[in-house]
C-alpha cells in the first residue's frame, strides 16, 4: 500500500504542475484585469502604477516563474481586489462549503442507499415506482429552479425555514460550524437538500440497479438456501457488494459538490468558496482564480486516493499494488 501511495504522490506532483500551467495560460487568455479592476476614470499614470504593482507588465513566462517560486514556498499570491493572501481568503470560506457538502453527502447516503436498496428488493411495489419517479424528477430539474422554489414555499409562503445565510455558528476546534446550533441547522437544511437532490437521485438509481443484480447472484441464492436471516443477507451480502460502485460515484460527486456548489451557494447566500470564485472570475482577480483551481486539483487527487484505498477495504479482491 505504501508503495502505491508514494507512486501516486509523484504522479500528483506532475499533474499539479501541468494544471498550474494550463490554469495560468487560461486565466491569462481571458482578458486584461486592469479594465475591470481599476476605477473607470483612472488616469493613465494611475493605471500604470497598478499594472507595475501587480507585475502585469512582465512577460507571461516571468509571471509564471515568479508564481511557481512563490508557490514552492507555500505562497499562492495576494488577491488583486482584497490585497489579502489568496490562501487565507479561500481558507475562510472552506468550512462553510465543506460543512454544506458533508451535510449533502450525509443526506445522500442516509436517504439514497436505503431507498435504492428498497426499490431494488421490491421492484414491483407501488412505493418503489414512486421512489423512481422522484429520482427521475431529481435528475431533470435544474438546481437553481429547485432552490428558488424551495425558498418560495418553505420560507416565503410557510415561513418555516430561513431563506438564506448561514445562521448562528459556534467554534469547534477553532473552526466555525453551524450544525451544532438549532438556528444553524435550520439555515443548513434547505441548501443541503438542494445540493443533495441530484446526487440523491443518482445514488437511488445506482443502489437499485446494483441490488437487483446482486440479488440474482449465486452467493445470495446460496445464502438464502443456507437459511440465513433476510436482514443478514441484505445488509451483509447484498449491501457490501452494492457499495463498491456507489463509493466511486460518491467520491467523485463529493469533489464536484465542493468545487461547484456555486449555484446553491448563490441562491442561499451561503458564504462558501463558490461565491468567492465566481466574483473573482467576474473581475478577473487572477491570483484567487489560480489558487482556487489548483486547490481543487489537489482535492480531487486526494479524493481519488481515498476512494482507491476504500476499494481495497470494501473488496478484498482489489490489489492496489498491482494497479498501474
Amino acid at each position: 500500500m505504501s508503495v502505491f501511495i508514494a507512486r501516486r504522490l509523484l504522479q500528483s506532483i506532475a499533474l499539479v504542475l501541468v494544471m498550474s500551467m494550463l490554469v495560468f495560460l487560461g486565466v491569462f487568455a481571458i482578458g486584461d484585469p486592469i479594465n475591470t479592476l481599476v476605477h473607470p476614470d483612472a488616469t493613465e499614470a494611475e493605471r500604470q502604477a497598478i499594472v507595475e504593482h501587480f507585475g502585469l507588465d512582465r512577460p507571461l513566462y516571468e509571471q509564471y516563474g515568479r508564481f511557481l517560486a512563490n508557490a514552492a514556498r507555500g505562497d499562492l499570491g495576494r488577491s488583486f481586489r482584497f490585497d489579502e493572501p489568496t490562501l487565507s481568503l479561500i481558507a475562510q470560506r472552506v468550512p462553510a462549503t465543506l460543512e454544506l457538502a458533508f451535510a449533502a453527502l450525509l443526506l445522500t447516503v442516509l436517504v439514497g442507499i436505503p431507498l435504492g436498496l428498497y426499490a431494488g428488493l421490491h421492484p414491483d411495489a407501488a412505493s418503489s415506482k414512486l421512489i423512481l419517479g422522484v429520482s427521475a424528477f431529481g435528475f431533470s430539474v435544474p438546481t437553481f429552479w429547485l432552490g428558488l422554489m424551495m425558498v418560495m414555499v418553505f420560507s416565503v409562503r410557510l415561513g418555516w425555514l430561513p431563506s438564506s445565510g448561514r445562521g448562528a455558528t459556534v467554534e469547534l476546534l477553532g473552526v466555525p460550524v453551524s450544525f451544532l446550533t438549532w438556528d444553524g441547522l435550520k439555515h443548513m437544511l434547505l441548501p443541503a437538500i438542494n445540493l443533495a437532490f441530484f446526487k440523491l437521485s443518482l445514488i437511488i438509481r445506482l443502489a437499485r440497479a446494483g441490488t437487483q443484480e446482486v440479488v440474482m447472484s449465486d452467493y445470495v441464492k446460496y445464502a438464502r438456501a443456507k437459511g440465513l436471516r433476510p436482514w443478514r443477507i441484505v445488509f451483509v451480502h447484498v449491501l457490501k457488494n452494492v457499495l463498491v460502485p456507489i463509493t466511486t460515484v460518491l467520491g467523485l460527486e463529493f469533489g464536484r459538490t465542493i468545487a461547484f456548489a456555486v449555484v446553491t451557494e448563490t441562491i442561499f447566500a451561503w458564504p462558501g468558496m463558490g461565491k468567492l470564485v465566481i466574483d473573482s472570475i467576474n473581475v478577473l482577480d487572477r491570483p484567487v482564480i489560480v489558487a482556487y483551481l489548483l486547490l481543487i486539483v489537489v482535492m480531487f487527487i486526494a479524493i481519488n486516493l481515498v476512494v482507491d484505498i476504500l476499494y481495497s477495504v470494501l473488496d478484498p479482491r482489489v490489489d492496489l499494488e498491482a494497479q498501474r
Binding site: P40, E46, V151, S163, T266
Partner: protein, 532 residues
C-alpha cells in the same frame, strides 16, 4: 440591546424602568435590530483601501468623511463644519467640536492630518484614494479644530475631494494591514455605528454609537448581509429575514409594488448609460456600405449622422419595455440635482423621419451597415438594451449587427479602439459632471490623463477649453456655468456621445420603514427610519 441597557442600571427599580421603557419602545414600533440585505460586499474595512461603492458603503456606517455628501452627492458639513478658500491655493476648514471616536478618544485636527497623510503611504490598490489627495501639497493643524491645506494648483473641487477622505484616529499604527482591519482591529471611527463582527460572505454586524454627534440612528444593532442573487434578496425580504434590500430588479419591482407589506423607493442614480461612437478616425472597423464595400468616409465622423442615430431612439419605450421603467431618459451627462446639469437640454425626442432626412443630407440616403457592441454582464439588462438600440437603428435604414460580450473582454477591446459604436455607462459618483466629462469627452491625452475613457476619441477644442476653465475656476457659479456650456457643446450640439438614460436605483423595505434614497446607490443604516 437588553444587556447594555440593563447592565448599566445599578438597582432593581431602574431595571424595571428600563424594561418598561423598552416595552413601551416596542409598542411604538421601535426596533432593536435592522437587517439589511445588500447586493454587494465591501472589499475591506480599511476605509482608505478602496473607493468602490460596496466598500465605501461599509466605511460610511463606521467612519465620517471630513466633508459629508448629501443624497444628491453635494458637499455638506460633517466632521468639518465649514470650509473656506483663503486664497486660490489655500483652504481652511473648521472642525466640529466635541466629536469622539468609538473608543472614547477626542477627535481633532491631528486626526485629520494623520488621515490625509496616511493615504499616499498605503500600498497600491486598484481603486485607491490617492487621486483625492493628489492636489494637496501640505496639510497642517493650525489649532485643535482648524486645519489648513495648501494645494499644488487651484482646485475648486477640493471640498469634493475631502468628502472622500475617511478619518481614522491618529494613533492607528502606520503598519496596520488590511488583514488587521478586516478582523476589526483598528476599525475605530466617529461614525454612527461601531464595529461588532465581520464574517466575509455572511454578515457585517454593527451596533449604535451612542455618542454619535449627528442624528441618532433608529436602531441599536444593524446586520448587513450580502445576498448577491436578485431573486434570493427579494425572497429574504418577503420571508422577513431582512427588513430592507437594495438594487431591486425591474421585474421584482412590479411585484413588490403590489405587495401591501412592502414599500418601494427609487431615485435616478448617478450612472449614465450612453452610446459611444468612433467619431474621429477616417476609417472605422465595423462600418461598411450595405454591399460590404469600404466607405470613402467614416459616417460616424459626421455630427448629422450622430444626431440621426440619437433621434432614431425611442428612449421612453426603451426605458418602459426593456428596463421595466427602472430608468429615466437622459439628454446630458448628469441628472438634475448635480452640478453641470443644463436645464434646457432635454433628451432627443423620437423622430425617425427627421433621422432619415439627416442621414440623406449627410450623403447616406440608403443608410449603411454597422455592428454595435455592448457588455452582457455589467449593467441592468445591457444585452437587451444593445439589441433594442440596434433595432431602432435598423428602422432608419441601417443594416445592423449586434454583439454582446462579457465586460472583461468587451472593455479591453473598446479601450483598444477596436469598435465603431458601443454601449457604455459612467458612474457620476462625485456629484458633478466635471470628472465624467473630462474622462469621456475631453480630447484624449495620455500625458495629462484627459479623455482616459474617451473610447470614441471625440475632440473639440472649445469643449476642452471650458473643461479646463471649470477645473481652474475658483468660483462655484462660474464653474457651474462652464460645465453647463461644455455639455451644451459636446452633447447638445456635437453629440460626441448619445446619452440614453440614467439608471434608477431602487430599495424595497417592509412597511413601517422608510429610507432617504441616495444617488450613489448606498444603503446607509443611519438614514433608515421608522415611520410613526
Amino acid at each position: 440591546m437588553k444587556n447594555t441597557r440593563c447592565s448599566l442600571a445599578p438597582g432593581r427599580a431602574p431595571l424595571f424602568l428600563a424594561a418598561a421603557l423598552s416595552l413601551l419602545g416596542s409598542a411604538l414600533g421601535a426596533q432593536a435590530t435592522l437587517k439589511v440585505g445588500l447586493a454587494t460586499e465591501p472589499a475591506s474595512l480599511d476605509p482608505q483601501f478602496s473607493t468602490t461603492g460596496a466598500t465605501q458603503q461599509a466605511s460610511q456606517q463606521l467612519f465620517d468623511t471630513i466633508i459629508g455628501r448629501d443624497k444628491n452627492l453635494q458637499p455638506e458639513p460633517s466632521l468639518a463644519l465649514s470650509w473656506t478658500q483663503v486664497d486660490p491655493l489655500t483652504w481652511e476648514i473648521k472642525l466640529r467640536p466635541g466629536v469622539k471616536f468609538h473608543d472614547g478618544k477626542d477627535f481633532g485636527s491631528a486626526d485629520v492630518v494623520y488621515s490625509v497623510n496616511r493615504i499616499p503611504r498605503l500600498p497600491e490598490s486598484p481603486s485607491s484614494y490617492k487621486r483625492n489627495v493628489a492636489a494637496i501639497k501640505d496639510c497642517v493643524a493650525v489649532d485643535p479644530l482648524t486645519v489648513r491645506f495648501t494645494l499644488k494648483s487651484p482646485s475648486p473641487q477640493f471640498p469634493l475631494d475631502l468628502s472622500f477622505i475617511y478619518v481614522l484616529p491618529r494613533d492607528t499604527p502606520s503598519d496596520a494591514t488590511v488583514e488587521d482591519f478586516n478582523k476589526g482591529k483598528y476599525v475605530v471611527g466617529t461614525g454612527p455605528f461601531k464595529f461588532v463582527e465581520w464574517v466575509r460572505g455572511d454578515r457585517l454586524v454593527l451596533e449604535r454609537n451612542r455618542g454619535y454627534w449627528g442624528r441618532k440612528p433608529a436602531f441599536d444593532k444593524v446586520i448587513f448581509r450580502p445576498i448577491t442573487n436578485d431573486p434570493s434578496r427579494v425572497a429574504a425580504l418577503l420571508a422577513g429575514d431582512v427588513d430592507i434590500i437594495d438594487q431591486v430588479s425591474p421585474v421584482d419591482q412590479e411585484r413588490l409594488r403590489k405587495d401591501a407589506r412592502i414599500s418601494v423607493l427609487s431615485v435616478p442614480a448617478a450612472t449614465m448609460m450612453y452610446i459611444h461612437m468612433d467619431s474621429n478616425r477616417d476609417a472605422t472597423p465595423f462600418v461598411r456600405a450595405k454591399d460590404g464595400s469600404v466607405l470613402a468616409k467614416n459616417p460616424l465622423k459626421d455630427p448629422r449622422v450622430r444626431e440621426a442615430l440619437s433621434l432614431s431612439i425611442n428612449r421612453a419605450a426603451l426605458v418602459q419595455r426593456v428596463l421595466g421603467g427602472a430608468a429615466v431618459p437622459a439628454g446630458q451627462f448628469v441628472p438634475e440635482g448635480m452640478v453641470g446639469w443644463a436645464p434646457e437640454l432635454k433628451p432627443d425626442a423620437y423622430d425617425p423621419e427627421r433621422a432619415k432626412k439627416l442621414l440623406a443630407e449627410a450623403g447616406y440616403p440608403e443608410g449603411f451597415s454597422m455592428t454595435i457592441h455592448g457588455p452582457n454582464d455589467r449593467y441592468l439588462n445591457d444585452e437587451q438594451v444593445t439589441q433594442t438600440i440596434g433595432q431602432f437603428f435598423a428602422r432608419i435604414g441601417i443594416d445592423i449587427k449586434v454583439q454582446a460580450l462579457p465586460y472583461s473582454v468587451f472593455s479591453t477591446a473598446a479601450t483598444n479602439l477596436e469598435y465603431s459604436i458601443f454601449l457604455m455607462g459612467f458612474g457620476n459618483t462625485t456629484g458633478d459632471a466635471a470628472r465624467g466629462m473630462t474622462a469621456v469627452l475631453a480630447t484624449f491625452d495620455k500625458a495629462t490623463g484627459m479623455g482616459a475613457n474617451n473610447r470614441g476619441r471625440y475632440s473639440n477644442p472649445a469643449f476642452d477649453k471650458l473643461i479646463q476653465s471649470a477645473a481652474a475656476a475658483s468660483d462655484e457659479k462660474r464653474r457651474e456655468k462652464d460645465l453647463q456650456d461644455a455639455v451644451r457643446i459636446a452633447v447638445g450640439k456635437d453629440r460626441g456621445i448619445i446619452p440614453l438614460y440614467f439608471q434608477t436605483t431602487t430599495w424595497a423595505m417592509r412597511k413601517g420603514l422608510t429610507y432617504v434614497p441616495r444617488m450613489d446607490e448606498m444603503t446607509l443604516a443611519r438614514d433608515v427610519a421608522i415611520v410613526k
